[in-house]
């Protein structure tokens, strides 16, 4: 284990954790996008990667997925570096489908692809497959539109189908890229509730990116706040403070709490930067 120097608002790496990022840095196109990102996620933990647009949230998710090679540090899953086999225990939910509304792909077809869509050859229908698909759709409350074309579903419904797609391979870690983007308030709450339930009842660790932390405050065990190429991690109360975020952003930032909601506001009145 690395010797992790204690800094405020920084997660100590715990041996028993499912996911550990230890001093991870990322260079893209010769530019240092992220440096020294350290946090960990336990079994059944619900964590949000929060930060302004372009802060590197998606990049961080892609590093954990193994799609981007970090320039420094390491990513450990169950104490092991990422390799072909343990990647199977990560479920991924992309931000959106790219499929047209009139394409003949039902919600159940998309979920079924979660079982073995990466394999070569045919997938023959079977009772077992159908039951697994039904179960995954039920788990996310999407059974009512199993036979609808996915392209015709609303954003929230598509998110549920994509979560079921990830869920059917029985992952231990679920990564979601901005699952709440472009959702109406009600769908937003419903998706958060579905994910919270999966973390609680099936002990799946959930890590999602979002630009607004407020919908997640009730369910998040910990927050990974990304800004200015750095990240601060820990319980939301400890990370999201005026001092902590000022250090992270590198300029004066005020955290204002109103009715249980959090606003992050730029310190200088000349540059209003209101976050949710």
């Amino acid at each position: 284990m690395h010797d992790v120097t204690e800094k405020p608002a920084r997660d100590a790496v715990r041996q028993a954790d499912l996911l550990q990022l230890d001093g991870v840095g990322v260079r893209l196109g010769g530019r240092q996008v992220l440096s020294d990102v350290t946090f960990s996620l336990g079994k059944g933990d619900f964590a949000g990667i929060i930060g302004p647009n372009g802060a590197g949230k998606t990049t961080l998710l892609r590093v954990i997925l193994g799609l981007i090679e970090p320039s420094g540090g390491r990513v450990l899953l169950d104490g092991e570096t990422l390799h072909h086999k343990n990647k199977g225990s990560i479920g991924y939910v992309p931000q959106k489908l790219v499929i047209d509304p009139d394409m003949p792909l039902r919600a159940r077809d998309v979920v079924s692809l979660g079982l073995d869509g990466h394999r070569l050859g045919f997938a023959f229908p079977s009772r077992q497959r159908r039951e697994l698909v039904e179960r995954a759709l039920c788990d996310v409350g999407a059974a009512g539109y199993a036979d609808a074309r996915v392209g015709e579903l609303s954003g929230g419904e598509q998110q549920r189908v994509l979560i079921a797609h990830a869920l059917i391979s029985r992952p231990r870690l679920l990564l979601l890229d901005e699952p709440l983007a472009n959702l109406d308030l009600r769908s937003e709450q419903e998706i958060v509730a579905v994910l919270g339930k999966l973390a609680r009842e099936q002990e799946i660790s959930v890590l999602l990116s979002a630009h607004d932390m407020n919908p997640l405050l009730g369910v998040m065990d910990r927050i990974v706040y990304v800004a200015n190429g750095h990240a601060a991690a820990g319980p939301a109360d400890e990370v999201v403070t005026s001092d902590g975020l000022t250090r992270l952003y590198g300029h004066r930032v005020d955290v204002i709490r109103v009715h249980g909601r959090v606003l992050v506001v730029a310190g200088e009145p000349s540059s209003f930067d209101v976050k949710g």
Partner: protein
């Protein structure tokens, strides 16, 4: 054009050959076309067809079977498209347009020179608009084998192709080599276009690739059913086209049959328009997400795959 064969549809050798070739072409185009439309690569299919025209014309000029010309040019075009990334990026349409224009220009030159050489005009027509009745029975095994290989490649890739069309990022995260799958698929598409070019001509080959699949996509909801309906639609229009072309020998101008390609393309259009006649079912209003018939989540934790 001279279609010289006696009355008696099925006793005619050219008609039998045409029906066999038509079957291979219809099934290959029908199945592969579904993925072409799903992946939004109709334009790639059309570009392959344009370049295949050059290959067919070149083959005519040097006196080899046009199928090999179509195939060689189609594969080369597929490789070129992959290299410059036509199918990945929009905004390359200007470069593509210029290249395709040049390809058709070269086809014009080859056909002109070939016509001077052999003093027949029929070949230009055959390359551009096809003539399934003049396919030599000797080439049938090669055509059938090419079709089977293209279908096998597509079948092996089918799940990864579907996953990629849902979300390339998702496919990448699952360990699919999205680029490699794309290249292999483009190869299968090039073969399919070459086959269709033999049947109804290089210029019209896209009709058989896109038409039946676009029709199938409108009336089906699952990919497997779309492939079946698309292949059957392709078969129907091709066979009916061949029969009508045979019959047209007795239509005016008497003694000169109408081209098969004309009938096939018209029937493709008719099938597509017919698919609009089927009213699209709107989804019933959906109940809230807590669905009836779902067991409580806690009961669902245990099962093993």
């Amino acid at each position: 054009m001279h279609y010289l064969f006696e009355p008696g549809l099925l006793s005619s050798g050219p008609v039998r050959t045409a029906l066999i070739v038509g079957t291979v072409v219809a099934i290959t185009s029908g199945v592969i076309g579904v993925f072409t439309v799903l992946r939004g690569q109709s334009f790639a299919g059309h570009s392959l067809a344009d370049v295949a025209t050059t290959g067919g014309a070149g083959a005519f000029l040097v006196g080899i079977n046009q199928f090999w010309g179509f195939l060689a040019a189609g594969i080369a075009a597929a490789a070129l498209m992959e290299a410059i990334g036509v199918q990945r990026r929009r905004g390359r349409d200007v470069a593509t347009g210029v290249v395709l224009g040049a390809a058709l220009g070269a086809a014009a030159l080859f056909l002109y020179l070939g016509t001077l050489h052999t003093a027949t005009t029929g070949a230009s027509f055959t390359v551009l608009f096809g003539s399934i009745f003049v396919v030599s029975p000797d080439t049938v095994p090669a055509l059938a084998a090419s079709g089977v290989i293209a279908l096998l490649v597509t079948a092996v890739l089918s799940r990864t192709l579907l996953l990629t069309s849902v979300s390339p990022d998702l496919a990448r995260a699952r360990g699919v080599n999205v680029r490699l799958v794309g290249i292999a698929y483009l190869g299968a598409l090039a073969v399919s276009v070459s086959l269709a070019a033999v049947a109804i001509g290089a210029v019209l080959s896209t009709a058989l690739l896109i038409g039946p699949s676009a029709t199938a996509l409108r009336v089906t909801k699952s990919p497997a059913r779309a492939m079946a309906v698309s292949a059957l639609t392709g078969l129907a229009v091709t066979w009916l086209g061949i029969v009508l072309a045979y019959d047209s020998y007795y239509w005016p101008p008497r003694g000169h049959g109408w081209p098969v390609s004309f009938f096939v393309v018209v029937l493709v259009l008719a099938a597509y328009l017919l698919s609009y006649a089927r009213p699209r079912r709107r989804l019933a209003p959906r109940s809230p997400h807590e669905e009836e018939g779902c067991e409580p989540v806690s009961a669902l934790v245990a099962p093993e795959v």
